[in-house]
Point group: C2
Chain length 377, copies 2
């Protein structure tokens, strides 16, 4: 994996990341394909709307279909018929949020599957091995994502464990090889809750370990947006400029623009897909709650400015009807539109950075977003 920085505008930056499954441009938004499928959309449609990389979840793939099937298939790319880059998380986040967690100790975490209660252990080494079986282009270290709020004492101790785990992951990664004749990269994860000094320390130690890129984890877990933005600034003040920076699990269009302004390159979030399935459609003017009665005879597109398949072919009235009668097509059209909008936002952010107008463009977008109902994190 290679990262090439192209343009900067203040702290905002554009670049390209080269992988054996192709190039993706940054800032980038990665749709979430938790179980080897971005919900309610085909891989072909993902390509058509300009998706260059997706994210998938190690925890879920490890449980189903399991690494044996993925190995037999020749890795996740071939299993799910996606020829472009894939990033996988380490599974840590889902262990802490979904499973019946039994024990976290120096060695790793023991947990019970949220599906059948079966007992499993993730260690820094095993999550590297699992991601070798998955064959993702970008893999992540095992970390503990602290909740919000979190006592400083706990945040500090937890971060030290995360740092020791990061080193073990790196060592395992360096002493092992990919299984499918393409190279893989490994990112470290900065933790430290909302404490600037812990974040700074975390970023420094990880930077010295020389990962291929750095994620900022443990944010968007309930803290106010301003604190999230402050933490991004602290981390990016320390992290090397010549490596990509990935803000995990974020967020709203507004969050993305604020984070891009502060130097973040990569994002993933379930918001466009999950909210789409819950009848919330994004537009340049804010969120359209499509089941509202006001749309029942509104024969205009969701977003008059949007050129996506949904907006070129269907009206608000029809999409509202589909949601009211629980037709699957409603989920498909909403997902398609929302992901298109997120790709549109990233594409235009990159254009604004490279042409030196990012600050003005961003202000304009935020003003527009506040014209209709604004979504809060």
């Amino acid at each position: 994996m290679q990262f090439v920085l192209e343009h900067t505008a203040g702290n905002a930056r554009t670049g390209k990341i080269f992988t054996d499954h192709g190039i993706f441009k940054t800032p980038v938004f990665m749709p979430v394909g938790t179980q080897g499928s971005v919900k309610a959309i085909t891989q072909k449609s993902l390509e058509e709307i300009g998706t260059e990389i997706i994210l998938s979840n190690t925890y879920h793939l490890y449980l189903r279909p399991g690494i044996e099937i993925l190995h037999q298939a020749g890795g996740l790319h071939r299993f799910m018929s996606w020829g472009h880059p894939i990033l996988t998380d380490s599974g840590g986040y889902q262990v802490f949020s979904l499973s019946d967690l039994r024990d976290i100790n120096e060695e790793g975490v023991q947990f019970r599957s949220h599906l059948d209660g079966s007992l499993h252990t993730f260690t820094p080494e095993s999550v590297v091995d699992i991601q070798r079986y998955i064959g993702s282009d970008i893999t992540m270290v095992l970390d503990e994502c602290t909740p919000y709020p979190c006592e400083k004492e706990y945040a500090s101790q937890s971060n030290e464990l995360t740092l020791r785990w990061a080193e073990r992951c790196r060592n395992r990664f360096q002493s092992s090889e990919g299984l499918y004749e393409h190279s893989q990269a490994l990112f470290g994860v900065v933790q430290g809750s909302v404490y600037p000094d812990i974040r700074e320390h975390s970023a420094k130690v990880l930077a010295d370990m020389d990962f291929n890129g750095y994620a900022i984890g443990g944010l968007a877990v309930g803290e106010p947006s301003d604190q999230m933005y402050e933490m991004i600034e602290v981390c990016n003040g320390v992290l090397p400029t010549n490596k990509p920076r990935y803000l995990m699990g974020v967020g709203t269009p507004e969050n993305l623009l604020e984070a891009i302004e502060r130097g973040v390159d990569m994002f993933d979030c379930v918001l466009p897909t999950r909210n789409g399935r819950n009848a919330q459609l994004f537009s340049q003017k804010g969120v359209v709650n499509i089941t509202n009665a006001q749309y029942k005879d509104d024969f205009t597109p969701v977003d008059i400015e949007c050129e996506c398949f949904t907006c070129r072919n269907y009206t608000r009235a029809y999409i509202r009807h589909l949601f009211m009668v629980k037709e699957i097509l409603g989920l498909q059209l909403a997902t398609h539109h929302n992901l298109y909008y997120y790709q549109w936002l990233m594409q235009n952010a990159r254009k604004a950075i490279s042409t030196g107008i990012f600050e003005n463009w961003k202000r304009e977008q935020l003003n527009l977003l506040h014209q209709e109902i604004q979504l809060t994190t």
Copy 2:
């Protein structure tokens, strides 16, 4: 609407039906879009797999979105963005099967909505009017679909009522006009349960009323296949050869081939879509129950002979995984494949008829279909 007969092979026949929304070739299979959407597939994909006409349900559309919205939209074609022909049933079948039926009398049927218990009445005249608002290219008369088994006395009385209703529908249709500057057609429906003499009488009386086409209703309601085939023969022995014949709600691939051999031109059925969503995939060799454990590491397509989007891009192992983890994409891929297979079957039936090899081709297909698990009605 105009029907042009092209080739015959025994009683089997090919033809073309011309409507203001385009031509469709017969024998034709119409995917079912109950509520203005064929479940889990876009209109664009329907086009791509060669769908030339779809069916929608008057009962459902009348309840939601309602005729006022459909009228404002400019009819169902524009509401759902489908520029090709649409056939609607009369709503009678759903009144008898879904609603809390209150009263059937000479005037019509009074029923309670299955959604909210609200009280409604369908008369022969009102279902014509509703279908005028919907704007379907082919509309159907109100009929009573008798259950199976059904006493002969009841079947006969019911059929007489259906015939009187058919005449009232025709009169209303002739004295009214379409609302959207395209012409509409009206089909009569032959009833009579499994009684040849009632079927024959029904077909004769309807033939004299000179409809644009004739449906054979009240079959595939639980009777043995052989009785269904016998009734088709009785009806088609009476119905005029220069009008299309539509066998309502049928059926399996085998049913379709047997009915085509007996001179049926049009079909609709929820089987490919509903069974697809229940993990049953059709193939030239029978039904693949994709959740079976045997497919978990089967990295071949659902049907090696099939050229559909699903089979060109995805393996049985992946589709099985999607169903096991309840991903919406599984429903999309199964629906796409099954509808493609039904279109493939019709296309090849037409080819076999026009080249004079229908009998052999049909026998070959039936043999193939019995190689794997065979679906029974």
